[in-house]
């Protein structure tokens, strides 16, 4: 459904109980199929936006709509269902060390109560997308950093999310491998998945020329298409 809005944040303010205000009146709309870099210095509010999207936090003011649903007014029992619309990867991969690649990826479907047969089909498909078919039966400890991150990406994709969030996905990887991961994310985006990537990696952002949303002190200070990491005047 091209043109549909996957994410809409309207006037979102987030103040933590300790008094720190992480976001101030943020408006952000991400249409279906978009690829968005979320940039800005540490403490600018990138992590808070991600926490709001996975409903780990609730906005103090304003609306966060994911696929049309108001995350601020969600029943506790509906939270898992909304989280299944999101796939997320982190800097530290968060793989289960005692499970094989295949099981780590399948885990995301298993915990939703999917059938074994469906799981196997979906896992094979997504392992092909990230290029890990050959490593399916290895443990995370036997993989390189890049392969571990690709496993995490496969796990985040296996349930066909509406929005794919990458929180500093290249933070622990060397430049060469970082590029492979970015290429993979671009490919996933070409397959039709909406991608939101929070990063410090200026080189990558500038080279890829996608939409850039820059945060500073909890405000969006720039939102440009085909943009670089830093403002180009």
């Amino acid at each position: 459904m091209p043109g549909r809005i996957v994410l809409a944040m309207q006037g979102v303010t987030k103040a933590y109980p300790n008094g720190r205000v992480a976001l101030r009146g943020v408006d952000l709309t991400i249409p279906d199929g978009d690829f968005v870099f979320l940039v800005g210095p540490s403490g600018a509010g990138k992590s808070t936006i991600i926490k709001l999207l996975i409903r780990d936090e609730l906005p103090t003011k304003g609306l966060v709509l994911l696929d049309g649903r108001d995350l601020g007014r969600l029943n506790r029992r509906d939270v898992p269902k909304v989280r299944r619309k999101i796939g997320i990867v982190f800097q530290d991969f968060k793989l289960l060390p005692n499970m094989t690649v295949r099981d780590n990826v399948g885990f995301a479907l298993e915990v939703t109560g999917a059938r074994r047969r469906e799981i196997d089909v979906a896992v094979d498909r997504v392992l092909r997308v990230v290029g890990l078919t050959g490593q399916a039966d290895q443990l995370p400890s036997q993989l390189s950093g890049g392969e571990q991150q690709r496993t995490a990406i496969a796990r985040a994709l296996v349930h066909n999310p509406r929005l794919f969030i990458a929180d500093e996905p290249t933070g622990n990887l060397d430049p060469m491998i970082s590029w492979e991961i970015i290429q993979l994310l671009l490919r996933i985006n070409e397959l039709g998945v909406t991608v939101l990537m929070a990063t410090h990696n200026a080189e990558v952002v500038t080279a890829v020329r996608k939409r850039v949303v820059a945060l500073e002190n909890g405000r969006i200070v720039r939102d440009e298409s085909d943009a670089a990491y830093h403002r180009e005047d």
């Binding site: 898992p80 989280r83 999101i86 005692n98 885990f107 915990v111 939703t112 109560g113």
Partner: protein
């Protein structure tokens, strides 16, 4: 539903074996605590049996007048046996009392033999269901014409009732306190095992697992720990039953009861129930703190 139960059981089983060290620690704690708890239960059961026995040994002794005929005595005996407070009435004749005296004091047999007649009265020994009923029975006896006097053991009975009451209450309090400590320690050990796997819980939350999918594997795992701990405990108790019984009966030789450490059905049920119950409760509480956000 089927997929859910299968998933939970499989995850519980994997979780137990893949986190071997934590599972071992939790199970060992469980065994230690259950052994302590069941030892206490066995000890208190023994105490209870002993106290019951002591209580049943409380006897009201009524000395009869020499003028009382056999018919009087039989009538009195029958009426006593009809009283609900009374469990048993034993009749001791003058001749029997004499024989008992001689048997008990062989050195003083000369004294009693020197007397022209047998001075020892016939008596009735009445066993009571509850020592607290002593006064009722004693009062009744005193009003009977054939009764000469009733041996006054009121003070002794009162003291004994008080001591037994204190012992019973003390036993219950100790059991309660130890039970709470056991609960606390096991729940905390299981909490450690769950905290060690907070990553796993976080990942499950992130990929959209419902609370039930997160909770139940841990609950089943707690049940496995409880079941295994209980099984080991019961094994230990069965193995130790013989030596402990002989030790106890040596130790409590003075008491006329068999102080045995028999592992009865009750103990097995208590150990199993406590083990599984606390395992499940511990897991439930530990995971809960991760789910409420």
């Amino acid at each position: 539903m089927f997929a859910f139960i299968g998933f939970s059981l499989r995850r519980a089983w994997q979780g137990f074996w893949r986190n071997g060290l934590m599972s071992l620690a939790a199970t060992a704690t469980m065994v230690l605590m259950l052994v302590m708890l069941s030892g206490l239960v066995i000890l208190l059961t023994g105490l209870d049996a002993t106290l019951d026995y002591v209580q049943q040994e409380v006897q009201v002794v009524a000395y009869l007048k020499d003028s009382a005929t056999q018919q009087d005595i039989d009538g009195l005996k029958a009426s006593l046996q009809r009283m609900p407070q009374v469990t048993q009435v034993t009749s001791v004749t003058k001749e029997q009392a004499y024989k008992d005296f001689v048997a008990r004091h062989p050195d003083e047999a000369d004294v009693i033999n020197s007397l022209p007649t047998n001075p020892l009265p016939a008596s009735l020994q009445i066993n009571l269901r509850d020592p607290n009923d002593y006064l009722d029975v004693a009062t009744y006896l005193k009003s009977q014409p054939g009764v000469d006097r009733v041996l006054n053991i009121k003070q002794t009975v009162d003291q004994m009732v008080t001591v037994i009451g204190i012992l019973r209450a003390g036993g219950a309090v100790i059991l309660g306190v130890v039970g709470l400590i056991v609960l606390f320690i096991i729940v905390n050990t299981i909490r450690l095992a769950v905290v060690a796997r907070s990553d796993e819980i976080e990942i499950m939350r992130l990929v959209g697992a419902s609370d039930a999918f997160i909770r139940w594997p841990f609950i089943f795992e707690g049940a496995i720990v409880g079941l295994l701990g209980a099984a080991i405990t019961i094994g230990l108790l069965l193995a130790g039953q013989g030596p402990i019984t002989s030790f106890l009966s040596d130790y409590f030789k003075v008491l006329p009861v068999q102080a045995s450490a028999t592992v009865g059905q009750n103990i097995v049920l208590i150990v199993l129930g406590t083990g599984v119950g606390i395992g499940v409760l511990g897991s439930y509480l530990s995971v809960r703190s991760y789910l409420i956000r």
